[in-house]
């Protein structure tokens, strides 16, 4: 926490910003994570790499790509970073199994060369690399193949022709492996489909105006950048990203250690839909919390939350077989509405309700609370009432009491 911030904690917005800063990945660790996956990328592409002929590309996906990473509850510096490793091959070159093994061999040799204590773990879809130095990252690396053609076809067949012809999104689609599938070991066209980069393009489009404004501001204050286009997305933070980070922390503390908590991709998707270019975290949280529920299709019955870049995929597909997942989402949303509302609507910025402190976690709040400054003078609240009445009159909204 910087001294500069401590001087700014004199409003709800400043307090929320400080909380986000406390739960966000620190800039130094963010850079280490980027350096580390770049280093893996160089290893996979080295001269004697077994997959070099497939021009391996490694890039982040999920919250690291979207800028919504948060510290785990407990505030340890243990971040999960999700990566994709795409080989420019086809399903004729690989079975799911052989792709997983080919990428896995190189990751294992990387781990050996760099003295990792634990050998990379072979998960259902990913390889997990566990760093055990001062920056304790878990890196999940998802082997993948480009899959634009099949993705376009799939969207066209299901009637989503506009999305199918959006090349910016469809060309980013990938085919991924899953060792629980029957065709894992045989050559097949039928691979699971994913599109993390396409999702990120959609997410960016939800906040394009504010993102560009923030980039513009950074460009004006940093000589490194000659134009807005040169400013990488991850160098700026938007209120949508910050509000999602707060919501995810609220979720994590509510379901700490419990199963069936609301999943991040549902929160992010509903948040993206609900966002209306608000410029503060406070306004964004209000907009998100009031509108998120409205973007669930058929909330009373078999609910559907379509993947915005692949509407055939229902992010809420597990809600049917495990109704607790749906109940937990609705419970969480109601609690988040109340906890954030209690602070941002009912209380002054100095008094954070216990409910919200618990939801953000006491550990995090103990870093933020000492930085909240008291008002210079106690305001005459009654004048606010009269000022509000004057506003209502000026807008023509006055109504008079009467007795029957």
């Amino acid at each position: 926490m910087t001294q500069k911030n401590s001087n700014q904690l004199n409003s709800h917005e400043a307090v929320l910003k400080a909380i986000v800063e406390a739960i966000d990945i620190p800039k130094s660790l963010d850079q280490i994570a980027r350096d580390r996956y770049a280093s893996i990328g160089r290893w996979l592409d080295r001269d004697n790499s077994g997959i070099r002929q497939f021009d391996p590309e490694i890039y982040p996906q999920g919250s690291f790509l979207l800028g919504t990473v948060i510290r785990p509850v407990g505030d340890a510096d243990e971040f999960d970073i999700d990566l994709v490793c795409t080989l420019k091959g086809t399903k004729n070159d690989f079975t799911m199994s052989s792709l997983k093994v080919s990428v896995g061999e190189e990751i294992k040799s990387y781990a050996k060369k760099n003295g990792f204590i634990k050998e990379p773990e072979d998960g259902r879809r990913c390889w997990t690399l566990e760093y055990s130095d001062k920056a304790n990252f878990h890196m999940d690396i998802l082997p993948a193949l480009p899959n634009a053609e099949q993705y376009r076809l799939m969207l066209e067949e299901s009637g989503h022709t506009i999305l199918a012809t959006d090349e910016k999104i469809s060309e980013k689609a990938i085919a991924i492996t899953d060792k629980t599938l029957d065709n894992f070991d045989i050559y097949s066209d039928d691979w699971p489909v994913s599109n993390p980069k396409g999702f990120a393009i959609w997410f960016k489009s939800c906040q394009a105006n504010v993102l560009n404004e923030r980039k513009q501001l950074l460009m004006e204050s940093d000589v490194m950048y000659a134009s807005v286009d040169q400013v990488p997305d991850h160098k700026v933070k938007t209120p949508l990203q910050q509000a999602i980070q707060l919501l995810k922390r609220h979720r994590d503390s509510m379901f700490d250690g419990k199963e069936n908590k609301p999943i991040s991709v549902i929160i992010t998707t509903l948040a993206g839909h609900s966002y209306n270019n608000e410029t503060t975290i406070t306004e964004t949280l209000r907009s998100l919390l009031k509108n998120m529920g409205g973007f669930i299709i058929n909330p009373e019955g078999e609910s559907w939350i379509p993947n915005p870049v692949n509407p055939i995929e229902n992010f809420a597909d597990k809600w049917k077989e495990t109704p607790e997942k749906k109940q937990n989402f609705l419970k969480w949303l109601e609690k988040a509405q109340r906890d954030f509302g209690l602070y941002l609507v009912s209380n002054n910025y100095r008094d954070i309700p216990e409910e919200l402190k618990e939801s953000i976690t006491q550990e995090t709040m103990s870093n933020v609370l000492p930085l909240i400054v008291a008002s210079v003078s106690t305001p005459a609240i009654i004048s606010f009432g009269e000022a509000e009445a004057a506003t209502i009159i000026s807008k023509g909204g006055a109504t008079k009491p009467w007795r029957k």
Partner: protein, 244 residues
């Protein structure tokens, strides 16, 4: 029929819940006895950003009863915290029920009669008025006189005419008909027929006060002259809601 009513109630509950979500964190809503009941602490919040950081302007404990026929039926509001004296002068009956607004006036003079508009308009205005009255002794938006006189004032305002009961009732009679009778005497007392006089004004007025509403307003005004016990349908609804 019961299914339709249940669906209406569920829809109203969902609307009310979305209105109070985040903005009224100390209120909760449930369905009880075929009505949507909102209970808890109603917060009056400033719309001025620089004032918001100091928290709410005032809070009042309330119980709000919405009929599934909202907005045809006026919600019944009870002040349950006894923060305001339940007196005639405070526009609160002894049972705590609040005289928020002349319902017909609000319905006809506002294009938005949603639950959100009700919370942001009459409900907020009433309790903000109470808060200011308590500290300054003044009603910031004014007040209507009690009973029939206040009703007449409000209807005069709606009909944009002079405060004359006979005239108001005649205008409401004209508007109550399914179509304007052009051969009737013009209410402006010019001696001409409506067709040859204020037809355009009345056509405009009809969009504001449809025939059903004109009938309700007329009945309500006349109910004061009827013998005790012969209360209007609106008052019947209000009396029925008294069971909560």
């Amino acid at each position: 029929m019961a299914q339709v009513r249940e669906k209406q109630l569920q829809q109203l509950l969902s609307t009310v819940k979305s209105v109070i979500a985040f903005d009224q964190p100390k209120l909760s809503a449930v369905i009880k006895n075929n009505h949507v009941i909102v209970e808890g602490c109603f917060s009056i919040v400033s719309t001025n950003d620089s004032h918001k950081k100091h928290g709410v302007i005032a809070e009042f404990l309330v119980k709000i009863i919405f009929s599934p026929l909202y907005p045809t039926d006026e919600p019944r509001v009870l002040e349950t915290g006894n923060c305001i004296k339940h007196t005639l002068d405070n526009h609160i009956n002894t049972d705590g029920s609040c005289c928020i607004v002349v319902w017909e006036e609000w319905i006809t003079t506002n294009s938005d009669n949603s639950v959100q508009a009700y919370f942001d308009g009459p409900l907020k205005n009433f309790f903000l008025s109470q808060h200011i009255k308590k500290t300054t002794g003044e009603w910031p938006f004014g007040e209507y006189p009690h009973g029939k006189e206040g009703l007449l004032d409000a209807f005069t305002n709606v009909l944009e005419c002079s405060k004359n009961e006979t005239k108001v009732l005649y205008l409401l009679r004209i508007l109550s008909k399914d179509r304007l009778r052009g051969h009737w005497n013009c209410p402006c007392k010019s001696g001409k027929t409506i067709r040859k006089c204020c037809l355009d004004d009345l056509v405009r007025l009809r969009t504001k006060v449809p025939s059903k509403m004109a009938q309700i307003m007329s009945n309500r005004l006349q109910s004061y002259d009827r013998k005790k016990g012969n209360i209007s349908s609106h008052d019947k609804i209000t009396a029925k809601q008294g069971q909560f």
